[in-house]
Symmetry: C2
Subunit: 480 residues, 2 copies
C-alpha cells in the first residue's frame, strides 16, 4: 500500500513537470502544475492524490508546501477532501468541451482585393507619430484625478477643445457644458433614442437613403422611422409633419451626396420651432469639402433645436472610439443619465490625447492633409470614369469620402455582383434605401475612395472601370 502511494506520487510528480525555481515559489508552482494537470485531464476526476508526505518526498519539497497546495486547490474546487477518504480530483472540473465551442465566423474576412466600400478613411494614413506625441503630453501633464472615476460628460479638456474647434470649423455654437463625449455616432444615437428613460421619442423622420445600420439600431430600440424623399435640394423637410424629430446629413447627404439647400436648412429649423421638434444633425464628414468652404452645421442656426453628432471616425480613424454630442441645454441631464454615472465609456486617455491633438494644431494639419489626398483621389476617379466610362454619371463628389455612380435603371444589382466577381467591394444604392419610401428607386454604385491605401488606389480604379456596365439608356438625372 505504501509502495503504491509512492508509485502514484512518482507518477504524478513526473507528470507535473515542476519548475521548482519558478519565480512565484515552489508552492505556487505546485498549485499551478496540479491545476494544469486537472484542467488538461491528465489527472482525471475522482483520482486520489498521494498523501502529502509521498508527493513531498518525490518532488523534494516540504510537506507543508504540498499540504498548502492541496488546501488551496480544494478551496478553488479543483480537488475535494473528505474526512477519511483523502484528497481527490473533484468531479466538476471538466475540460473545455470541444462540442460547445463556437466556430466563430472570421470577424472580418481577409478583405477584398479592391476595397471601395464607403465608410472608412485610409487606415494607412493614421498620424501615428503626432498621435503618440499627443499621448505623451497628455500622460505627462494629466493631473492625478484623471486616473480616478470620470465625469460621464467626458473630460473637460476635450469638451473645451471641441467647443473652440467646432465653432471655427463647423460654425457650431455651444459651450463645454452642452457637449457630451461618446464613443461614436451610433453610441450617440443609442443614448438619444435607445436608453430606457429615452431622451427623444419617435416617430423619427429619416432620409429615404441612409445607413441601414442606423435604421436597424433605431428599430431595435423601438423607434419608428419615417422616410423623407430626396430631391436635388436634399431631403424634403417641407413634408415633415407630426414626427417628433428628424435625422439629417445636411452637409453631405449620405449616400447620395448633395448638401441640404439653404432654404431647406431654414425650413427644418422653422419646423422644429413651430412643432417643438428636434433636428438631429449627423455631421459625419463635414470637414471634407473640396470645391468650396465646408457648409457650416445647421446646429449654428438654432442651438436649442438641433442636436449635432460628430466623431473622429472619418477624420481620423474609427479605432479611436470618440464622438461628441452637442446638445440643447435641456437634454444634457437626460443624456448623462442614459450614459450612466459609472460608465464613462470612452477612453479617458484617448480623450486627453484628442484634446491635445486638437489644441496643438495636429488635428487641423491632419484634416488638411487628408482633404488633399481625398480630393486627388476624387479627381482621379472622375478622370478615370471620363476616360473609360464616359456614359456613367458621377454625383456627390463635391465633398466626403465617396461618390455615387449613377447607373441605368435595373442594372445596379448585376453591376454590384460583377464587381464582386472581380474582387471589387462596393455597395449599390439599394443597400441604403429605406424600405418604406415611395420615392422612385435610383440605380447607382456607392464608391468609397478613401479606404484603399495610397498605393492600392490606382489598381482599384482600374478594376472598377472594368466592371461598370456598358453604355445603355443613360438616366436623365442631372449631376449635382
Amino acid at each position: 500500500m505504501a509502495k503504491s502511494w509512492v508509485n502514484s506520487a512518482e507518477r504524478i510528480g513526473s507528470d507535473l513537470h515542476l519548475e521548482l525555481v519558478e519565480a512565484g515559489g515552489r508552492r505556487a508552482a505546485l498549485i499551478g502544475a496540479l491545476r494544469e494537470a486537472v484542467r488538461e485531464g491528465r489527472l482525471a476526476p475522482g483520482t486520489r492524490l498521494p498523501p502529502y508526505r509521498s508527493l513531498a518526498a518525490d518532488l523534494g519539497v516540504a510537506r507543508n508546501t504540498v499540504a498548502d497546495a492541496y488546501a488551496e486547490l480544494v478551496a478553488e474546487g479543483w480537488l475535494s477532501a473528505r474526512q477519511g477518504s483523502g484528497t481527490r480530483v473533484a468531479d466538476r472540473a471538466e475540460p473545455l468541451r470541444q462540442a460547445d465551442r463556437t466556430p466563430r465566423k472570421a470577424p472580418r474576412a481577409p478583405g477584398p482585393r479592391h476595397d471601395l466600400r464607403q465608410g472608412t478613411p485610409d487606415a494607412s494614413a493614421f498620424p501615428r507619430a503626432a498621435w503618440l506625441a499627443s499621448c505623451r503630453r497628455a500622460l505627462q501633464q494629466a493631473p492625478n484625478e484623471v486616473f480616478g472615476p470620470g465625469d460621464p460628460a467626458g473630460r473637460i479638456e476635450l469638451r473645451e477643445a471641441l467647443t473652440e474647434y467646432l465653432a471655427r470649423a463647423r460654425g457650431v455654437r455651444t459651450e463645454p457644458d452642452r457637449i457630451v463625449i461618446c464613443s461614436g455616432f451610433a453610441h450617440g444615437l443609442r443614448l438619444l433614442f435607445g436608453s430606457p428613460g429615452r431622451v427623444l421619442a419617435g416617430p423619427l423622420a429619416v432620409e429615404a437613403y441612409g445607413l441601414p445600420f442606423h435604421r436597424e439600431l433605431l428599430a431595435a430600440a423601438g423607434v419608428r422611422t419615417v422616410p423623407l424623399s430626396l430631391d436635388d435640394q436634399g431631403a424634403r423637410v417641407d413634408r415633415l409633419a407630426r414626427e417628433r424629430a428628424v435625422l439629417l446629413t445636411p452637409a453631405h447627404q449620405f449616400p447620395t451626396g448633395g448638401p441640404l439647400h439653404a432654404e431647406r436648412r431654414a425650413a427644418v429649423v422653422d419646423w422644429a420651432r413651430a412643432r417643438g421638434g428636434v433636428v438631429v444633425e449627423d455631421d459625419y464628414d463635414g470637414e471634407f469639402r473640396y470645391d468650396r468652404r465646408p457648409v457650416g452645421a445647421v446646429q449654428g442656426l438654432d442651438p436649442e433645436r438641433v442636436i449635432l453628432l460628430g466623431s473622429v471616425s472619418k477624420s481620423l480613424s474609427p479605432a479611436v472610439r470618440l464622438g461628441w454630442m452637442v446638445l440643447p441645454g435641456r437634454y444634457v441631464d437626460g443624456v448623462l443619465a442614459a450614459k450612466g454615472e459609472r460608465e464613462a465609456w470612452a477612453s479617458v486617455l484617448d480623450q486627453l490625447s484628442l484634446a491635445d491633438f486638437i489644441v496643438s494644431g495636429s488635428y487641423d494639419r491632419h484634416v488638411r492633409r487628408m482633404r488633399q489626398r481625398y480630393r486627388s483621389r476624387r479627381d482621379r476617379l472622375v478622370a478615370a470614369l471620363a476616360a473609360h466610362a464616359p456614359h456613367v454619371e458621377v454625383t456627390g463628389v463635391a465633398a466626403g469620402l465617396h461618390a455615387v455612380l449613377r447607373l441605368p435603371p435595373g442594372t445596379e444589382r448585376s453591376a454590384v455582383k460583377a464587381a464582386g466577381w472581380q474582387g471589387v467591394a462596393l455597395d449599390g444604392l439599394a443597400e441604403f434605401r429605406h424600405p418604406a419610401t415611395d420615392m422612385p428607386a435610383q440605380d447607382g454604385l456607392v464608391v468609397g475612395y478613401a479606404t484603399p491605401s495610397e498605393h492600392a488606389y490606382g489598381a482599384a480604379l482600374e478594376a472598377l472601370c472594368q466592371v461598370l456596365p456598358p453604355e445603355a439608356d443613360k438616366p436623365p438625372r442631372a449631376s449635382r
Copy 2:
C-alpha cells in the same frame, strides 16, 4: 443713400475686426467674422448688409471676395438674399439663449478632505511611464488594419494576452474566441441583460449586499433581482431555486469581504448544471489578495456554465475603459450582436496598449507593486484601529481594496454622518443592502483604503479613528 451704405459698410467693417492676413485667406476670414458678428448679436436679424462694393472698399478686399462670403453665409442660413431686397441677416440665427442653459451640477464635487470611499485605486499610482512605453510600442507595431473598422469582439492581441494571463493569475480556462472585450463591468452586465435581444434573462439571484449601481442597471433593463442571504461561508447558493442566473463576487464578496467557501463554489456549479442556470462571476479585485494566494475563479470549474467579467478598473484605473467577458461558447454570438457590429466601443489603441502592457510583464509588476502598497495600507488601518478603536471589529481584510468596520446595531447612520462632518467620505453597509433581503441588517462602515494618495493616507486614517463611535455593545459576530 450711397453715403448711408458706405457708413453701414464702415460700421460693419470696423465691427468685423478682420485680420486679413489670417491663414485661411481673406474670404475665410470675412466669412468667419461675419458669422461671428451675427452669432454674437452685433449684426441683428433683419439688418441689411452693405452691397459688395461698399464693404469691399471699406475692407480693402476684392468685390468677389465679399460676394463669395455673402453667398456662403446665405447657403449656411446666416444671411438671406431676396431678389430686389439685398442681403440681410437671417431671422433664425438666434444667439444661445441664457435661459435654456442647464446649470450643470458639478460633475464631481471638489472631493472630500479624506476620501475613504471604496471602488477606486490610488489614482496617483497610475504607471504613466510604463503605459506610455506600451502605447509607443503598440502604435509603432500595429498593422495598418488596426486603424480601420474593428472586430466587435475586440483586438485579437488583447484577447490572446488575456487568455494566457487569466489562466495563469486567475485559473480561468478559455480561449481568445470566447473572450469579448468591453469597456468595463457595467458594460458587460448591460450586454448580457440589457440589450434588446437579451442574452440572459432574469430573474437573477444577487448577493444580499452588493453595488446598488448594478441593481439599478439591472432594474432599468427590466431584470428582477432576487437577493441571496450571506453567511460566514458567503452567499447562500444552496437556496438558489428557479432563478435563471446568479451574479456572485466569489473571490471577495463585495462589500462584506469573505471568499465564497469551497463547498459553495462547487454547489453553485452543480446548481447551474442541474437547472440549466448560468453563474455570472464578478471578478472585480481577484488580483488583490494579501495573506495567501488568490482564490482562483469559479469559471475554471465549469467554463460552460460560468461567465466571468473582469476589468482593469481596480488593478490599473477606471480611466482605461477596458473590461473583458469570458463566455461559454454559446453566448459569444449573442453578446457580439448586442454589442453591435459598428460599435467596437473600447478604444482600439488602449486595447493594443493593454495587450503590450500584459505581455511585456508591466501588468504583473504593477499589480505586485500595488498589492504591496495596499497590503501595507490595510496593515496600517488594522493597526490604527487596534490602537485607537479596539472595540471596532474589522472584517474582509484578507483581500481587496476595502475593509468593513463592524458597528453596534443602530449606530451606522450616525457614524456615516459624523464622518461626513469631519470631511471623511465613506459609505455605510446599508448603502449596499438589497431592499428585498430578509437577512438581518448589519451595521458597518465600508472603508476604501486605496483611494487616497500615499501621502494623504495617514491623515485619512487619523480622521477615521476620530469619528468612530465609542465602545458600546459589541456585536458578537466573529472576524473572517
